[in-house]
């Protein structure tokens, strides 16, 4: 679940299907912001992450670095999953 490569693939599938045009090739290193990723896309992405991985990204963690590309975002999610206290 917290394997970054696995998270990357899930995020890529979501972004390719729901956010980005079929005209562009979205990879783990595509610059999201340079390709028009906006605040509403962010809301949709945050809700997807919560639904799929069970974590909500804190506002303080959302910045230019984490949203740079899928790789950075997946690393953050993996870290949050790793740091999450085990459920009782």
């Amino acid at each position: 679940m917290s394997d970054p490569a696995h998270i990357e693939q899930r995020l890529l599938a979501f972004l390719r299907q729901g956010i980005f045009s079929e005209d562009i090739v979205v990879t783990e290193e595509t610059d999201l912001l340079a390709n028009g990723f906006d605040s509403l896309n962010l809301v949709a992405l945050l809700q997807y992450i919560e639904k799929e991985f069970g974590v909500w990204l804190p506002e303080s963690e959302i910045n230019e670095t984490t949203l740079k590309d899928i790789r950075h975002l997946a690393a953050l999610i993996a870290q949050l999953l790793h740091d999450r206290p085990p459920s009782p």
Partner: protein, 418 residues
């Protein structure tokens, strides 16, 4: 050819607004972009370029046909490029001169002394498309995307079968139904226009103030929250304006434009790929910018979670073959004759390709939008050359010149010191 040029739900919504404005004597749902240059651009080159693009894209000179198959019907009438001499400057008379929509006049160019006014019908395309199109006009080497089927696709139409779309459209009416408890009263409802004219005031912040506004936006609304911050400030000041002018309202209903065009592409270019998501705010939620921002965020998140984003457009799509008067009556029915309290837009950064035109540097840029009456007032934010700008627009008589100046001053101050 005509089968390839259908209207989508967004186009229908814009046609509805055009109908509503013309019915009241206004020039219609036309917008303008004003460009200012260091020197004059070549009028012949501009005319040749416009003719060439119009020949390549017949939708640029097409009239809207409705009834059973709503679509664009190309007329072949070339777009107008007018040259004004004698040092004429951009002004309200040029904005309030209607486009002959029914005859297929969808775009017009007015060349003035070191300035160009591009007028376009919002029925044809949204503001981001208009910026990209202008960049295309000004660069003869750019061929632009192929005018294939994709250009005229109805992409903004939501997927799903008829039953799904009915359910989605019903969500839009249910949402309006919730607003009834605190019915909004717009400025134009209390103070009807004295003349069917739209007036604009353009405000430009300095680079330093723009930087401060960005910092405030980050602090109040988080990363990528700049547009939400502009909206929150506008809402707080709109409420104060209503109180100042003796037009207090139980609530403020604001349609927030949402881009539906997939990211990473400009196509379909000649098409409206936006939807309007209606939000309602109570006066108690507009005491401070932070409270307003919190409410915007919460309502936006709910809309995304509940899949309501394109419900209004789905409704418009289902009604696209019906008479526009009927459609507009339906829109206004739920809010007892009101459409909203204010038109808000935020087009963010001006298209980066729009820096030169035929090699001449663009030194000034402004958006001049249209709005329906009611509400008779609107605002659009945009960034050009590292400076935040906003255009306030209102129906003549709905606000006095002093009230517009005061509104603009308060907005500017609150953007800098929220």
């Amino acid at each position: 050819m005509t089968a390839r040029l259908p209207h989508n739900g967004c186009d229908t919504l814009m046609l509805g607004f055009d109908y509503e404005l013309r019915r009241r004597g206004f020039s219609g749902n036309s917008c303008q972009i004003i460009l200012e240059f260091t020197t004059n651009i070549d009028a012949d080159r501009l005319a040749r370029r416009v003719q060439s693009l119009a020949a390549r894209h017949p939708v640029l000179a097409a009239r809207p046909v409705r009834l059973w198959k709503p679509r664009w019907q190309p007329t072949g009438r070339p777009p107008l490029v007018r040259i004004h001499s004698g040092g004429r400057r951009p002004g309200p008379e040029l904005f309030n001169e209607p486009l002959a929509l029914r005859e297929g006049e969808l775009i017009r160019f007015d060349l003035l002394d070191r300035a160009l006014i591009f007028t376009w019908s919002h029925v044809l395309m949204d503001a981001k498309s208009a910026e990209f199109f202008l960049a295309l006009v000004g660069n003869e080497e750019a061929s632009g995307p192929e005018p294939g089927r994709d250009w005229y696709d109805q992409r903004a139409r939501p997927a799903g079968n008829f039953r799904f779309r009915i359910r989605r459209a019903w969500q839009a009416l249910e949402r309006l139904d919730k607003f009834k408890k605190f019915l909004p009263v717009s400025l134009a409802a209390r103070r009807p226009p004295s003349a069917p004219k739209t007036l604009h005031k353009i405000v430009m912040l300095s680079v330093e103030d723009t930087r401060r506004v960005r910092e405030n936006a980050l602090r109040v609304c988080g990363y990528l929250g700049e547009a939400n911050f502009h909206l929150a400030v506008t809402l707080v000041e709109l409420h104060r304006l209503h109180v100042r002018t003796g037009c207090a309202s139980s609530s403020y209903v604001v349609p927030i434009p949402i881009g539906l065009r997939p990211k990473g592409t400009h196509s379909p270019l000649f098409s409206n790929q936006i939807t309007m998501m209606l939000h309602q705010f109570l006066p108690a939620q507009l005491e401070t910018v932070r409270e307003a921002a919190r409410e915007i965020k919460s309502q936006r998140a709910d809309c995304v979670r509940d899949g309501e984003i394109d419900s209004g457009i789905t409704l418009a799509h289902l009604f696209r073959a019906l008479p526009l008067g009927f459609y507009m009556r339906l829109i206004k029915h739920e809010l007892r004759g009101e459409i909203c309290s204010l038109f808000f837009g935020d087009t963010s950064m001006v298209d980066p390709a729009l820096t030169r035109m035929f090699g001449v540097e663009i030194t000034g840029f402004a958006h001049l939008p249209a709005m329906t009456v009611p509400p008779g007032v609107g605002i659009v934010f945009y960034h050009f050359r590292d400076r935040l700008q906003f255009t306030l627009f209102h129906a003549q008589g709905t606000l006095s010149e002093a009230e517009v100046d005061e509104f603009a001053r308060c907005l500017q101050e609150r953007l800098i010191n929220p």
